[in-house]
Point group: C2
Chain length 532, copies 2
């Protein structure tokens, strides 16, 4: 295509600036990251139609475009869970108060900001619908903030002997934590997640499971979300309430803050003891069962946005893109329209046959520029523009949503790479390659950014300066206690994101040293950062 | 295979009777339908490990075997929803009380037995975890019994003009109705379902959608669940609260009772009016939006059980079976064991390559008979038995969970058809055919049963007698009013299941006539039955 899109000027980043006025919908441009990072995030969530606030405090509506990303995440994760021997089940969302309070440390962590059901009936009183005061429950029910207690209560009936183990169950569900300050996807009162709850005959097996599921999460994060992560242990203070060990994957967002993206807990025998779940082991002796739990949530959509998106809108790795290719037909007359739409249909069918989700945007009363703008905002990886000249020349114009700049590459070269003409058949054959390349390049860019914003730091002065200047991941030696962790949090708003596994340490961060705060000897560095 | 399974006697229905004593688990035999139909149902649900009661009143735990059936139902339905242009989204589970009360008729129907959240915090008071009296919500939140109100409240922000229509959204979610008498799958306080909520620019289009989705449900019921259904309208008294028209599919269970298996509602402009959702139509005028909603739930698993299962246990149509083929190895010595397991692995791989889910049951300390018993109870469609003689002869023994008796076919002939030996390669090639046949035959048997238990009835005496003798579907003329419907319910515990579409009437039931109760002229017959 070499004619200009009718009536739409194209800005240097490829998005049409004036198009929103011409289209049926008025879409205001989004705030840039430089202007206001937090507002940029909200703009993308709202304007790319990923989620909305609802009428209920702190609860979000996940719109179809956002939910499709979640469905794709679910499919990828669920396939991995099943490939590692897990099955799905469903447990009640209600937890009797006494059950939630059963495991002491767990209760201390979760019996706080919860939604509590106290009544089971409404009634018209004086013509108004009200809670029936006579329908108070004997025992209040808590909407699950997590399901360990209710699930282990059930496992008691299912586990008698070592033959019933391991029990490898996962649940896809909604949960509720009555958060005071909420942010779409990142922290909402109700959210969607999966929670694995497994039961084992030995500590070694349960610990192995804990590590395996963290690996599943890391594989998913890196190879599907194109988001590099650091794997490690949480400090005691950051552990899941009731866990012996909590492992996590930590990702860096574009603003240098960390986002905990998945956790896997070794729970020891704590929950088995509080729910009294014993099994007859191979030696014929009764023993408490060993437990793990692990979860990721719709929070990952927030992580996805903040890892890849830009000032034009959402950038979505092809493996999670609701739409892979959008086709925009360009024409001036009815005659051109018929020809162009016919060709667009052929291209659509060819790409669908390759297995891609393709949107042919044949909306009328909307300029091509307005369409470009909308689909770039919504993060569609590839755009195919088809005009009469393309048909004549048997060529197609493919525009990529994202191209990684090679070191030293200038704007013009990048722009040329972004929008390319190919002979028709070559273009079709090129699509899988371009999508795979984008998937790779997004990971590479995120990794590059993380490296740029990571620093090996040895003094508290340098630490202070690093976070005063925007911060990122600080690799520091640490031998402080919980109180000293709090001190760091107070002074710099930073926390220990994780104590990385040995193989996660960059070369420059290896070796022993001295605690940045206390000067005490430290065996290895940890990752400190500000966090979401 | 022509040796007897080691140490297991086989009863005439193919299930081993003494096997449970030999296995690690004690599984009591299930109650027969003749003994106690209700208990038979519960036995299947519990002993086939489909679901369990939970510690919370009226709430069930869907166990992995049952949940896998639900996942397969979801996949089949979701594919059909997407093929008809729908997308998924997620809305909050909490509905502010005032919102639920907004649509008058809807409120009258649903603002009753609900779970109501009144507080948002727990607190340790005197060392005990209690509801914090200071954390009362300003407005109580109702756990959704259905989501029309919360969804239409949101649609207000998304719909401005006819260009935004139709809006075709579905949600997979948990809902809660505080039922007093619950039964696993059929009626529980919390259950899982999908609810479609669509918005249209005209009544005609919305009514078309209502009919289309009923067809999707009927197609799913008949072609996936192998469960014949009758499609029709509900009477005004049985309509969804707030609907102008409710369509349903009605299935007959083996005891002759009806089970409403899916509903699709034309809601007119009721919800648009109460939530004030107007759109600019093509003539530039503001108009209220037209709505539909439609849903099916985990209740369908109950319907599946009661349509196909027998006194041995669950019978599951292959299209929904969690496991299609179970392979049971048979051997007496370690040497035989090695050979048999090797062959079993080869067979497993060949069947997995065909796309089936295959379980190789190589558990030790368990007789083959005990394994037969367990997998028949759990409804696995095909069993392959492999012993040393089968390897020698290069043959395989395939046992079918269900074979439809041809008219006049005797027990012995049926048993011979049920368990057959084939040359190895032929057996493998035969599997898809046998599964397809079972799928067809289950539908055929259910249809036959429905025909046997259906009667065209013209007098109230005959009606009374029909239901005194067990009943079924009565095709009767009706011209009564709501009060007279209640009379029928009181006298016979029957209700009008639906006013069938004209094409749903069997030949003998067509034509005009006179109301069975009032003698008034009636244009067509309706289906009356007792119902779940």
């Amino acid at each position: 295509m070499n004619q200009k899109p009718a009536k739409a000027s194209t800005s240097k980043d490829g998005a049409s600036k004036d198009s929103s006025q011409k289209s049926g919908k008025q879409v205001a441009p989004i705030t840039t990251r430089a202007q206001d990072y937090a507002q940029w995030y909200i703009d993308i969530v709202r304007k790319a139609e990923l989620a909305d606030h609802s009428g209920v405090r702190g609860c979000m509506v996940i719109r179809p475009h956002g939910y499709t990303i979640w469905e794709k995440m679910q499919r990828e994760l669920d396939d991995r869970f099943k490939a590692t021997g897990h099955v799905n089940a469903y447990f009640p969302m209600f937890i009797p108060l006494s059950l939630l309070a059963q495991e002491e440390k767990h209760a201390a962590g979760f019996a706080k900001e919860c939604a509590v059901v106290t009544h089971h009936r409404l009634k018209a009183i004086d013509g108004e619908v009200k809670v029936d005061p006579e329908a108070e429950l004997e025992e209040p029910l808590v909407i699950r903030p997590t399901s360990e207690t209710v699930i282990w209560h059930q496992y008691k009936n299912w586990i008698q002997s070592y033959r019933d183990l391991p029990l490898l169950i996962n649940q896809w569900a909604n949960v509720c934590r009555w958060e005071m300050r909420t942010r779409l996807f990142l922290r909402t009162a109700e959210f969607l997640w999966q929670e694995g709850h497994t039961a084992h005959a030995s500590e070694a097996e349960a610990r192995e499971e804990t590590a395996r599921m963290l690996d599943v999460y890391a594989d998913f994060a890196e190879n599907v979300m194109a988001m590099p992560v650091i794997r490690g242990h949480k400090t005691p203070g950051e552990r899941f309430a009731g866990a012996i060990d909590t492992l996590s994957i930590e990702a860096m967002m574009q603003d240098g803050k960390a986002l905990q993206s998945g956790t896997s807990h070794y729970l020891g025998q704590n929950f088995a003891k509080s729910a009294d779940v014993q099994f007859l082991n191979q030696d014929g002796k009764l023993e408490y069962v060993y437990a793990t739990s692990w979860g990721v949530s719709t929070r990952l959509i927030g992580a996805l946005i903040m890892t890849h998106s830009d000032d034009v809108g959402l950038v979505c790795p092809p493996k999670l893109a609701p739409i892979h290719v959008v086709i925009v037909p360009i024409f001036r007359s009815d005659e051109e329209r018929a020809k162009v739409l016919e060709e667009a249909q052929r291209v659509r069918q060819a790409l669908v046959a390759q297995g891609w989700t393709v949107k042919l945007d044949d909306r009328e009363n909307m300029t091509p520029g307005a369409k470009y703008y909308e689909w770039e905002l919504k993060g569609v990886p590839l755009r195919v523009e088809i005009g009469p000249k393309d048909i004549e020349k048997q060529s197609l114009c493919i525009v990529r949503r994202f191209v990684l700049a090679a070191p030293g590459e200038d704007e013009a070269a990048l722009r040329q790479k972004k929008k390319q003409f190919f002979p028709r058949e070559e273009a079709l054959a090129k699509v899988p390659e371009l999508l795979a390349q984008m998937q790779r390049e997004l990971f590479e860019r995120a990794l590059r950014l993380r490296e740029e914003k990571s620093r090996v730091i040895d003094t508290i002065e340098e630490y202070e300066q690093f976070f005063a200047q925007g911060g990122g991941f600080a690799w520091v030696h640490w031998a402080g206690d919980a109180e000293q962790e709090d001190e760091l949090a107070r002074r710099f708003e930073t926390s220990i994101r994780c104590i990385p596994f040995a193989n996660q340490l960059p070369e420059a961060a290896r070796g022993e040293g001295k605690c940045i705060l206390t000067g005490k000897p430290s065996a290895q560095r940890v990752v400190m950062a500000r966090a979401y």
